[in-house]
């Protein structure tokens, strides 16, 4: 079993170009002398391409595959052929091999056609996760905006209240100034005719000590009433 695993590792390293020149030459000697090993290597290559197409390969394998596809039309043709074959095989019903499909399922093996569903399920899970993230994000943004609006309204209300408070304080201050006067001026303005028939009462507050009477007279005017 460990030999089998070592051989698989060797094949993978050979296909990825990771062997030293000596190891590379030695392994080529082996598979050129052993037709079964050559076919196993061919199967490993096809499997590597399928893993690349399904996105199941390692980062190193992906990088090597992409470099090869970019550099060689042979690799491009091979990968495109495997892609078409995978698509065709995925679309066909299970082959009529007695027991093979059910045994594979019992053994927990996923046949190639079904394996193509695994990335689809992963994709669906990622899509659902993305939708949830987007919806959650949208809810947070809306709530945040709503709270900001409420805060702005409260701040405006507060400013209004402060302004009103200032006005009231000013009014109160002016009233207290007025009430502190002990002298009430009584102004007689020119051009105003005071009605003689009807007397208007002048209310003098109780704390007023004196009432000066101011009489403004225009120049050249010889007649006035008091």
């Amino acid at each position: 079993m460990s030999n089998e695993r070592e051989q698989k590792q060797l094949m993978t390293r050979y296909l990825l170009g990771e062997l030293s020149p000596e190891e590379h030459a030695r392994f080529e000697d082996c598979y050129l002398a052993n037709p079964d090993l050559f076919e196993q290597l061919a199967a490993a290559e096809d499997q590597m391409i399928r893993s690349y197409l399904h996105g199941d390969c390692s980062a190193t394998e992906k990088a090597v595959m992409e470099r090869r596809i970019a550099a060689s039309p042979d690799w491009r043709q091979k990968v495109e052929f495997e892609r078409a074959l995978t698509e065709h095989v995925s679309s066909m019903p299970a082959p009529g091999v007695v027991g093979a499909f059910s045994n594979a399922r019992a053994a927990g093996e996923i046949p190639r056609a079904k394996r193509s569903l695994v990335p689809a399920l992963r994709l669906a899970a990622v899509a659902i996760w993305l939708v949830l993230v987007v919806l959650g994000g949208a809810w947070l943004i809306t709530t945040n905006l709503h709270l900001r609006q409420e805060l702005a309204e409260l701040q405006a209300e507060k400013a209004d209240l402060e302004r009103r408070q200032n006005e009231l304080q000013q009014q109160l201050a002016s009233l207290s100034v007025k009430s502190s006067l002990t002298m009430t001026p009584f102004l007689l303005t020119p051009h105003l005719v005071r009605d003689t028939n009807q007397q208007k009462p002048l209310v003098i507050p109780p704390d007023v000590a004196s009432i000066p009477l101011l009489l403004s007279l225009d120049q050249g005017q010889d007649r006035f009433a008091g």
Binding site: D36, E39, A42, D46, D74, K78, A94, A100, N103
Partner: protein
Amino acid sequence: MQFDFRPISHMDNLNISIGERDLKSADFDGLLQRLHPDRNSAAERYEDLRRKLMRFFRWNDCFPGEELADQAFDRVARKLGSEQIHDVPAFLWGVARNIVREFRKRPPTVNFEELPPLRQPHTSHAELSLIEQKVRERRLQCLRKCLEQLTASDRELFLAYEYFAGKARSTRQLAERFGISVGALQTRAHRVKHRVEKCALKRFLSAGKSFEEDKES
């Protein structure tokens, strides 16, 4: 079953694009004779070696694999007339390894990504995805046509093998089902795959050519 065993480059007026000189028909016949006295068996061996050579060149990042495989055969066929060669396949692999060494000494090719921006081919992403989709559809159609051309037994074996590809247990069960060893199953499946791949590529390229001709007319 009759094989069309001669490679495309040999059928086109015996012109070989990479070979130093044209290969004579007699040299090629001599090569086939050395592979097997029976012409059909020889053709089968020739096709099998060619398939392996193409894989070998791909694994060594040498391309175009098909032309290099033809070049290897040409060199061996020429040597057969002048030298005593006991094991032709072993000699062929020696030649193939020499071709790999020669290929590695060649100056590297330039990738699109390495070209200055003005010389890079430009296609928008939207156009590219549309083109890719069409190309994939056409490839799939070509593949299906080629699968239809297989014999029923080859098609059944190949598609069953591909369906459970990469799973050792299923491959063993398939081999039991077909009454052959795992190695024989793999060899048969890979041979059929090589034929289908070659057929699909040929169809795909000729479909592209007729599409270009339609556009021009």
